[in-house]
Every structure is written in structure tokens, then in C-alpha cells.
Symmetry: D2
Subunit: 126 residues, 4 copies
């Protein structure tokens, strides 16, 4: 998978009384970017009973985003295993990196761990 990019804007709902984006919202922005990988191919992230869930994530916060900021989410595949993926996702405002996260996603079928089906490979580009 080549790094893909998703763009979003910070709205009031993303901020909190501290004046900056609420810390868990960066995870939402990253999830939108992952879903867009599917939407961009005319697919959805839930297909034939298969979908991915987050098993582990390690995140670092470098600088805060504020109301009206235009953010870019970069996503790249680190490793594809039989039943899970490891990805790196980073969020930038202009050239400035605000957030970085490595995460492990497990493939489920009917809520049980499952091999990643072949039809997800087109989306993942592997």
C-alpha cells in the first residue's frame, strides 16, 4: 500500500473547553482515513461478515489542532499478516506533524478472528 492521504477540518464538535481538539478525536480522524480506503474503491469496511477491529495502538501527541485547522491523515501499511494488519497513521497540519499512531487491526468474521479475505487485498493494495 502506498501512503494514502485523507483530509478533514476541525469543527466545534472536535474541540473541548481547553480550546484544542479533544485527544480521542485524533483516533476518529485516523479511522475515517481507514474507512476512506474502502469508500474510495466503492466498497465498505464491512463485507460478507468481515470487518477489522483495533487490537492495540501506540499514539503520540506532538502539537494540538485548533478550530478551523485543515488536517491531513497519512496512512501506510507496516505489515500484513494472515489475520491482522499493522499500520502507521500520522496527522499533519501543513508541514507540522501533530499526531502519530501505530496500530494493530484484527480481522473478524461473525465476531471471531478470521483470515483476511482476498477481496480486501485490492483495498489494501498488497
Amino acid at each position: 500500500m502506498h501512503p494514502s492521504s485523507y483530509t478533514t477540518v476541525v469543527y466545534y464538535e472536535d474541540t473541548d473547553a481547553g480550546g484544542v481538539v479533544y485527544h480521542s478525536k485524533y483516533l476518529n480522524f485516523c479511522e475515517r482515513a481507514r474507512s476512506e480506503l474502502f469508500f474510495a474503491k466503492g466498497q465498505t469496511p464491512m463485507q460478507e461478515g468481515y470487518h477489522f477491529v483495533v487490537k492495540e495502538l501506540n499514539a503520540r501527541y506532538f502539537a494540538p489542532a485548533r478550530l478551523g485547522d485543515r488536517l491531513h491523515v497519512s496512512s501506510s501499511l507496516i505489515e500484513r499478516k494472515k489475520a491482522s494488519l499493522r499500520m502507521l497513521q500520522e496527522i499533519f497540519c501543513g508541514e507540522r506533524k501533530l499526531f502519530g499512531m501505530e496500530l494493530t487491526l484484527a480481522c473478524l468474521h461473525s465476531d471471531k478472528p478470521a483470515r483476511i479475505p482476498d477481496f480486501f487485498d485490492e483495498v489494501l493494495g498488497v
Copy 2:
């Protein structure tokens, strides 16, 4: 149904950069109060394929809530029809009314309009 009361607290996630609770969050607080009507009876709001959806709401904002405020949501039934309900929900901080909403809820079964089943009557107290 006698007016029932649900209590919640304003956390960071409920506020925005304006320093007060984000306007749509009051609807969330009211929805939690409706769900608690079911949870309090050991039931869930989705049963045997039946659940309620919001069809219409008229809301007024009187004063803002802030981080750490303890809020009370009062809920009362205005009218029970065969396939829908009308309710009044109000949110208070101490004696002060912050928010009021009248809403119409429609009963669905398998995503189609349906008569409210009898087993919901215990929850609704009618």
C-alpha cells in the same frame, strides 16, 4: 409514566472551544435518560426487533452547562399513541433549567413502523 430523573456530569468531551457544552450533546443526555428507563428495568431499548427512533424534536436552549456541572434530566410522557410516543425532557443544573425538548418517537420493527408492543408498557409505566 411519572417523571423520571437521570443524572449525568459534564466532561471535557461534552464541551467545545466556546467553553460550554456543545449544543447537540443535550440530545445525547436526553437519549441516555430514555435508555435508562429500560436499563432500570433490566431491559434494553432494542427488544425482539423493536426499537424507537426520533421523528421530530423541538428544543430550546435557556442557559449553557459547563465542565463539571452535575445535570438532571427529567423525562415525562405526554402522549402514547399506537405506534408513537410524545415526550417532554428537560435538563436542570440545580434549580436552573438549561434545556427543554418535546420529541416524537416512532416505534419500528425490522426498520418499519410498528405498533408499540405490550412488553414496552411496563417500561413506559402506562
Copy 3:
């Protein structure tokens, strides 16, 4: 103000266990559309101590949106008073209207009701 249009996509975070968009999220989508009126002019909705808050809203839900749906929010000004605005906002998926809302916004300065300043007129196009 000519009707303006804002486009968004339904992500996982917008949906709930009922399989459709959570009812208060439509208010978020409308708020994003209002903020974009400002962002599109290189401005922010909080300027020189002035901003708008929702005082009243009347909303109707016509049909649900689902994961991956591309939504269009149409916004138009109904009335501009000295210290408040009335707007109509509607959300469509393709040609289908899902949601409509009339709302009253009050202008505040330092958290007190205030006349809408002239520099907001360019944004509002009145």
C-alpha cells in the same frame, strides 16, 4: 444568502448499534455547514469576542443515513434580525431528503446577547 452546500460522509463514529446515524449527529453535520460559511471566507465563527449560539431548533427526521453515505447539507438564511438569525438547514443523500431543521441563532459578545457585527455580513451574504 444564497443556499450554500456542504458535503460530508458518514463514518463509523456517526453510526450507532441501531445500524444508522445517531440522531444528534445531524445537528453536528449542520453545525459543520455553518462553520464552513466562515472557513470558506478565511474567517472563523469566533471573532473579536463575537460568536453565535443555538437558541431554538425544530427538527424532523425523514429517513436514516448509513455508513458510507455521502450527505449534502443545504443552508439558507430565513431572517436576519439585529441580534439573531433564523436559518433552514436540510440534509440530503442524493435526491432524498433525510433531515430538515429550522433554527434560531443568537449573537453573543463575551457571553452576553449582542448586535450582530457588520463584519459577519460578508459571511452571511446579506
Copy 4:
């Protein structure tokens, strides 16, 4: 600090179309528990220009929570440095651990790194 416990319930707004709690919401539940440490002492997490922000977090997801689940968040201090804290937070449903997270919080004053003021020590119990 002795481990402290905060209890919350899973509402519709916390779930997504996958039928379980949206992954970033567990971070929200943990943040509520941290804020409750302050609220329980009659204090707020923002005092005299000081507050904490998340700098880093490592999270693991063991099992999903569902609508109506009653969750317990356990919080304990791992390390208190001059300008930052390390904490462990875990979320349980009954005896079952659903989620665990280690996180580093930095103290800010006027948005700049600052020594943790003495008046926060009563809250932290150190």
C-alpha cells in the same frame, strides 16, 4: 494514589454500526475517570491556568463492550515526575477486563510545559 474507580454505562452514542463500543470511546471513559478525581474533591482539572494534556498512550483492546453494559474504570498512578505523570487505566465489565491503557500526561500552564503545582497533589494523593 490508591486505585480509584469510576462507573459508567454504555449508551447508544458510544456504540457504532459494528454493534459494539467505538474504539476511541474507551479513551473518553478513561478521561472521565481522571476528571472525576478532581470533581470528587470539589475541584476542576483546569485551575489557575494549569491543566494536563495527553502526550502518549499505549492501549490494548481485549473484548468489546455493548449497549447497556456497566463499565468500571480503574485508575492508578505509576509515576509522578516534576512536569508529567504516568498512569495505568483499565476498564472492566464485571470481572472481565475489556481495555487497558498506559498514558503519559504533561502539565501545562498557559499552554506551555510547567511543573505540576502543589495544589494538584491532594487530588493525586501523592
